[in-house]
């Protein structure tokens, strides 16, 4: 299989208004060959942004650069940008192979012929037997579906066809608009693995839009969090997961233990965070009114006082235990000197839950490292 030669993408002060969404003055750089994930809640304007990059909306302002070329005014058919929608974007009147051959067939015909209905179909049939099509179908493991019509495919198979159709033209950039959201969990996982493999094998530049943080972590080399038409944070998934830049990002990525506190100087690089009189140690230079957060899986639970390598150790009562598949979330109410107890949520695996025999009302110790406390 030939590689795809992904090119870099740069958005400069992009301003778009379409379909009720407004994106103002957006800047972004995606490196050639990078897998970039755009993360945001439904209604953040992610689709409009992708469609603008593909040339389907005219921006009100700003420029779009692809591999050093200004493509702001180019029509979509001249951009060589692949696009995969969330669903229902296969041509229902063509077989799988003809769908994949659609772009190739267009390129082969003289211009005057391409504008008529009849010859287009014949050219598509001819193109559907070309080796690139077969190779692309094989690469996406859908060779056995070549002669089926989209109506008879599962959601996962359809997305593979949509990917093949875009990739066979060796796009300079591949845009994926929630490609996994409409699939059921089994297919989603398989196609996610497929996307990772394809990106590694082909070296395409990918911009993938999703509202699912897990997807972003699993796929993205870098992630941008889009909220109300602007980027709240851009960075590696790890950085966003560990050090969210705002309360919105923290909640969106599933942080649970978010508390308001007063940050006071501690010893060395640490600060003392005072939340309702309870004092926690954290590594931060921030002072004054802050929020702090601890990921549930960074909190250790024990039936006996924990050893001293953890800087933050508290005693509390188990308030609730919630099983969620492989993990259990244990809520521990830690009494605070001033006001209501602080509810900390800790994630433990099923075996630990069994060993610790945690039940509501029991007293436990919980601890977390100062470096696991995120202040924002």
């Amino acid at each position: 299989m030939q590689s795809v030669d992904g090119e870099s993408l740069r958005l400069e002060g992009l301003t778009v208004a379409a379909g009720g969404f407004r994106i103002a003055n957006l800047n972004l750089e995606v490196a050639a060959g990078e897998y970039f994930v755009l993360l945001g809640p439904t209604g953040a304007g992610k689709t409009v942004l992708l469609e603008t990059v593909a040339g389907l909306h005219r921006p009100l302002g700003g420029r779009v650069w692809l591999g050093g070329e200004d493509i702001t005014a180019a029509p979509p058919e001249a951009r060589r940008i692949g696009f995969v929608y969330q669903r229902q974007a296969l041509f229902p009147h063509m077989t799988v192979a003809e769908n994949v051959a659609f772009g190739l067939a267009l390129r082969q015909q003289p211009r005057w012929k391409r504008a008529l209905p009849g010859p287009g179909r014949r050219a598509r049939r001819r193109a559907s037997r070309r080796p690139e099509v077969a190779a692309m179908l094989a690469l996406l493991r859908i060779a056995h579906l070549a002669d089926r019509f989209p109506a008879h495919l599962s959601g996962g198979e359809r997305q593979r066809v949509a990917l093949a159709r875009a990739l066979v033209l060796r796009p300079r950039l591949l845009l994926l608009d929630e490609p996994l959201s409409a699939l059921d969990p089994q297919h989603r996982e398989a196609l996610r693995a497929e996307l990772r493999r394809l990106h590694a094998e082909l070296g395409a530049t990918v911009v993938h839009v999703t509202h699912d943080f897990e997807e972003a972590v699993a796929l993205g080399e870098r992630v941008a969090v889009l909220h109300r038409g602007r980027f709240e944070q851009v960075g590696t998934p790890e950085a966003i997961f560990r050090r969210p830049a705002s309360r919105f990002v923290a909640e969106f990525v599933g942080m649970r233990n978010i508390f308001a506190a007063e940050a006071e100087p501690g010893n060395g690089r640490t600060a003392r965070l005072r939340a309702r009189g309870l004092i926690a140690a954290a590594v931060t230079a921030r002072r004054g009114a802050v929020h702090f957060a601890v990921r549930p899986e960074d909190i250790v639970l024990a039936r006996h006082p924990l050893d001293s390598s953890l800087r933050n150790v508290f005693q509390g009562q188990v308030a609730a235990v919630e099983q969620r598949g492989a993990l259990a979330y244990v809520t521990v109410a830690v009494p605070a000197p001033e006001g209501e107890p602080l509810p900390f949520v800790a994630a433990v695996t099923a075996p630990s839950l069994e060993n610790l025999r945690l039940r509501p009302g029991e007293t436990v110790w919980l601890g977390f490292k100062a470096s696991a406390v995120h202040v924002f």
Partner: protein, 260 residues
């Protein structure tokens, strides 16, 4: 479905059955009144055959004109947003509510012998009053909305994202229309074509004002009824209803597939 609901539906169905009988009975009665031999003899009459063929031809011509200009109009209405769009959609629908004889008068005001367009076309040798072109425009006027609306709904049912994807795959707007949009909407278009053609066939009020002669079939029925009475008009009516039902069956068959 539980019994209480079944009883409820049966009660409703009984009321509806009366209406269905009200439509079906007169049609069946008319068809059965003329045995096949009579229908065949009627068809043999030169005047009747000429009228029926003229009706078919004129309606087909009107439909052809509507295709040429109506398909682009339908696509624009389905896809574009522009100021005045509501007004344009309204104008297309108006002929449905305008009394047919008034529509004939209105067309005469523009295409009549003394009217501006009438005179302009006369220079090119085209007459409308008491001539085939007049029949065609009368049919076009009253039946246009059927084709435009069916095609518009067909185009609207094609997901815009399919067109967007085709563009990203290298197709120009014109290529996208012919290779993606039209093939997906063509059954709706075809259903509109047949509907419009059938509606054109059935037109009487507008045609009779613009062109009593040459006589189309509905005018012939009226003429015979007025001049010679029911017995003389009935065989022609039976024949025309039979043909209409044939057209109608084709229409249903096509329309049914379009819904799939």
């Amino acid at each position: 479905m539980m019994r209480s609901r079944r009883r409820f539906l049966i009660f409703f169905a009984a009321a509806g059955a009366l209406l269905v009988a009200f439509i079906a009975w007169p049609l069946l009665r008319t068809l059965l009144a003329s045995p096949p031999a009579v229908l065949w003899r009627t068809w043999q009459e030169g005047e009747v055959r000429a009228a029926i063929l003229l009706t078919f031809g004129a309606s087909a011509a009107a439909t052809g004109l509507a295709l040429l200009f109506g398909i682009p109009l339908a696509y624009v209405l389905a896809r574009a947003d522009f100021p005045g769009k509501t007004l344009v959609e309204a104008v297309v629908d108006i002929p449905v509510v305008v009394p047919h004889s008034a529509a004939g008068i209105a067309l005469l005001m523009v295409f009549g012998r003394q009217a501006f367009l009438g005179k302009a076309f006369a220079l090119a040798g085209i007459r409308f009053v008491s001539a085939v072109p007049g029949i065609v425009i009368a049919m076009l006027f009253v039946s246009l909305a059927f084709l435009v609306n069916a095609a518009r709904d067909g185009f609207r049912a094609v997901d815009v994202r399919l067109e967007a994807v085709a563009r990203t795959l290298g197709a120009s707007p014109w290529e996208t229309f012919w290779q993606v949009t039209f093939p997906l909407a063509w059954r709706s278009v075809l259903s509109g074509v047949i509907m419009m053609w059938a509606r054109g066939l059935s037109e009487f009020g507008a045609v009779v004002i613009l062109a009593y002669h040459p006589m189309v079939a509905p005018v012939l029925i009226f003429e015979r009824f007025e001049s010679y009475g029911l017995a003389y008009a009935r065989p022609v009516a039976s024949l025309v209803i039979l043909i209409s039902l044939g057209v109608f069956l084709i229409l249903r068959w096509v329309g049914r597939d379009a819904k799939r």
